[in-house]
């Protein structure tokens, strides 16, 4: 985008200069319109054609400049300029790459095409199948060992992780030189990679990414590569039968079921069974979870571990462990009651001019007199008047005035009754004089507050409700491991490193389209010129 902007500015500058010069050269004169050439004036579209005739050259030049700028930006991006400016997706991945670099050596390994020329790139497959097997004998362990040893050689390769984004599962290619330089052993590197990548699935088409084109050679380290590799070499570490406890669903703690206990469900692969459970403490150390805080529930299709508290856990099994995080729902935040009795607050309410203050006092009296209000934790809360829907720790109210804002119908039309007619969108709740005069107004305010407190814990995108309308606690955490990760890859297909992929075909089509646009602009210029010439032929 940046390159396009630079090219566009450069190419549009002379066009703008010509347009400015033409504007400066425009002359004003007085002359009867009837004696001007009338070839286009007689038509209804005459003014349009005259305008077009006066400015078509500039307009077409500008269009051609934009098309040429887009073509040049595409061409230069495709021939090895920094990919950071190429597109938004690449930018996001680049940003992720910078995170690794910042953690290591202060950004010393930002992708730089010129520096990458002549080097070898090593790409580690971070798919779920790379973690199958006994700890220490998994493909990812072997891959980390290869990467670690290669980084200590005379010409260390550039390390990339081919994986996916956590949560969304979108395929990604991230540079990880900082990880391998920070690691002191292959085991540590494997742990770092495992914490950096979610190990869902991979998209091998990313081998054709522009960032990898400048390298002299490219080595893909994977467990087993099904397609035919073209333009790069593959180091196959061998397929392992999956042996693991794979988390497939999470029910957070604090929900309405089972006294608020959470539930983590796992699929057992390779016949493993859970043996221990550790929880990460606040200091980051793993500690064995006391028996009263967890239990294994019986089930045929999955291993279900019920947990009392939210947090990060490690479920150990014979030869390995699975880490997972159990979320928890926050308790609803309730407004803190003010001092004074309910009756006194209600009596005072009528004398207070502000609708929001009146509502607050009525709510306060209800809370004080209710069991829920007594049990609620004292939390800071406020009621704001006016807009601000969804503000944290504040319930916004909108006052309504008869005949002014349309929120209350004219009493003359409603036979003297005050009837609410509309709900102001910018506030959580719309209360007018009529609503506050009602004894049940506090219930509406209280309900709105409770709804806000419950909806504060929005499930992330990677969570899926079990059914429409199900309570907030009823959702599962998506594991996002594709189905083919569970099976040995079948041969077939091909992956080409040098762009003979669908993405590059689209790029070529785009470039072709831009060339066609340039040609079309020139043809239009010729056509308009020919039309102008034909218009100069004597009539009759």
């Amino acid at each position: 985008m940046l390159e396009f902007a630079l090219w566009a500015v450069g190419l549009l500058a002379p066009v703008a200069a010509l347009a400015f010069a033409a504007l400066r050269r425009r002359r004003r004169l007085v002359y009867p319109h009837g004696l001007l050439p009338s070839a286009w004036s007689a038509r209804r579209s005459g003014p349009l054609f005259r305008r077009l005739k006066a400015g078509y050259d500039t307009a077409l030049d500008a269009a051609a400049a934009l098309a040429a700028a887009a073509y040049l930006a595409l061409a230069s991006a495709g021939t090895g300029t920094p990919a950071a400016a190429a597109d938004a997706a690449a930018s996001a991945e680049f940003a992720a790459g910078k995170e690794f670099a910042a953690a290591g050596e202060g950004g010393a390994h930002e992708p730089a095409a010129a520096a990458d020329a002549g080097r070898v790139a090593m790409v580690i497959d971070c798919s779920a199948s790379m973690r199958w097997g006994r700890p220490g004998a998994r493909p990812i362990d072997a891959a980390a060992r290869e990467a670690f040893e290669a980084s200590r050689s005379g010409s260390p390769p550039a390390l990339y992780l081919l994986g996916a984004e956590r949560g969304s599962g979108r395929a990604s290619l991230r540079r990880a030189d900082a990880l391998v330089e920070r690691a002191s052993s292959p085991e540590e590197l494997a742990a770092m990679i495992e914490s950096a990548e979610p190990f869902y699935g991979v998209d091998y088409e990313l081998i054709a990414d522009r960032r990898l084109r400048n390298y002299d050679s490219l080595v893909l380290i994977c467990d087993e590569f099904g397609p035919e590799a073209s333009g790069f070499s593959v180091m196959e570490l061998g397929w392992r039968e999956p042996v693991a406890l794979v988390p497939v669903a999470m029910r957070p703690t604090g929900g309405p079921r089972d006294r608020g206990w959470g539930l983590a469900s796992f699929i057992a692969l390779g016949g493993v069974e859970p043996e221990s459970l550790s929880a990460m403490g606040e200091d980051g150390a793993w500690r064995r979870t006391p028996p009263e805080a967890w239990r294994i529930e019986p089930g045929d299709e999955a291993i279900r571990v019920a947990l009392r508290d939210p947090g990060r856990y490690r479920l150990g099994w014979d030869g390995g462990a699975t880490e997972f995080e159990l979320p928890g729902l926050e308790a609803p935040a309730r407004p803190r009651p003010r001092a004074g009795s309910a009756a006194a607050a209600a009596a005072e309410a009528a004398a207070v001019p502000s609708p929001a203050e009146r509502a607050w006092r009525v709510v306060a009296s209800v809370i004080e007199g209710s069991e829920a209000g007594a049990a609620a934790e004292p939390r800071a809360a406020a009621i704001a008047e006016g807009g601000g829907r969804g503000r944290r720790d504040a319930l916004s109210l909108a006052g309504a005035a008869v005949g002014q804002d349309g929120l209350v119908i004219d009493p003359g039309l409603a036979r003297g009754a005050l009837v609410a007619t509309a709900w102001r969108a910018e506030a959580d709740l719309s209360l007018g004089d009529a609503a506050l005069a009602d004894g049940d107004a506090a219930l509406a305010v209280w309900t709105a507050w409770e709804e806000r407190a419950l909806s504060a814990a929005e499930p992330p995108a990677s969570r899926l409700r079990l059914a429409a309308g199900a309570p907030d606690g009823e959702f599962i955490e998506l594991a996002a491991i594709p189905l083919d990760e569970w099976f040995r890859p079948a041969p077939g297909g091909a992956v080409d490193r040098f762009g003979r992929t669908g993405g590059d075909a689209a790029g070529a089509a785009l470039r072709l389209g831009l060339l066609a646009a340039l040609a079309a602009a020139y043809l239009v210029k010729l056509a308009i010129r020919a039309r102008a010439r034909s218009a100069t032929r004597p009539e009759g």
């Binding site: 050269r25 002359r27 004003r28 004169l29 007085v30 002359y31 009867p32 070839a39 005259r50």
Partner: protein, 280 residues
């Protein structure tokens, strides 16, 4: 300084001995002389003795010398022999060469007076006919030049309306119109036997290439026009088309173009053409 072109006196002398075209044979006056009114034409109606109410200047002094009695000659009224010079005073004419337009009007007025034809010069625009001056003698030329000095183009064009008004007054037999003729249509057609001589004062438009913001002097409307070689060619073609249209209006209509910058010589040719048609 006189507006009359210097070659006009010689031109008048060359046409002095020629007879004007005969009156229309189908006119009411020609068919029934008793109904023709007295006037100032050259057609003799009667010779009678001088009466006290007669103008002494009308006494035929030759007859008085021969007979010793005062006689006066009576002539029939003029039957449209007088020419009418219409000068367009619409706003667009401000772009024409003022000197050339006034010279045409003044010179033709002079020629008509010198040849004893009689003439009337009037302005016109979209409001109809404006003030006019009649010329019967060379002495009336001063009044014509005073009128022409007051020529200030304003308003819209309206030659069709002016010619129709002229015809209603019976003054459309011999008409010369000086205008830019920029209106799309020319609907007026002269009656049989009449002469309509159109003189188009071409308006100059030139300059370097670029965009023109053109304001119409009569409507005030503005429009943007490209001005380049193609536009110049288009305008030249439009001028030729207008020339063709005006010169093919039919029988009784003659057309000449007065180009900007054309000197007295070109105008003299124009006067000669007009007089030739008049005396044909």
């Amino acid at each position: 300084m006189s507006l009359v072109d210097p070659a006009c006196s010689a031109l008048a002398a060359s046409f002095m001995r020629r007879n004007l075209r005969a009156p229309r044979s189908g006119s009411a006056g020609a068919r029934r002389p008793p109904f023709r009114r007295k006037g100032s034409s050259f057609d003799l109606r009667s010779i009678r003795e001088y009466q006290y109410f007669d103008d002494p200047r009308a006494i035929d002094w030759r007859l008085y010398g021969r007979s010793g009695r005062a006689f006066v000659k009576e002539y029939y009224e003029e039957l449209g022999e007088r020419i009418t010079i219409l000068l367009d005073s619409s706003a667009s004419m401000a772009l024409a060469e003022r000197g050339a337009c006034l010279a045409v009007a003044a010179s033709l007025g002079y020629l008509a007076a010198a040849l004893g034809i009689g003439a009337q010069c009037r302005f016109f625009n979209d409001r109809g006919l404006g003030p006019g001056v009649g010329l019967h003698r060379s002495a009336d030329l001063a009044a014509l030049e005073r009128l022409l000095a007051r020529w200030e183009p304003a308003g819209g064009s309206g030659y069709d309306r002016a010619l129709a008004a002229l015809e209603a007054r019976g003054e459309a037999r011999r008409v010369l119109v000086v205008s830019d003729f920029h209106e799309a249509a020319f609907r007026y057609r002269p009656a049989a036997g009449s002469l309509l001589f159109l003189v188009r004062a071409a308006l100059p438009l030139d300059g370097s290439d670029g965009e023109l913001l053109v304001r119409d002097p009569e409507t005030g409307a503005e429009r943007s026009e490209p001005w380049d070689r193609a536009a110049r060619e288009a305008r030249r073609a439009a001028e030729l088309a207008l020339d063709r249209r005006l010169s093919s209006l039919g029988r009784g209509v003659a057309y000449r173009r007065l180009d900007p910058g054309s000197g007295p010589g070109a105008r003299t040719e124009l006067y000669r053409d007009f007089l030739e048609l008049l005396y044909a």
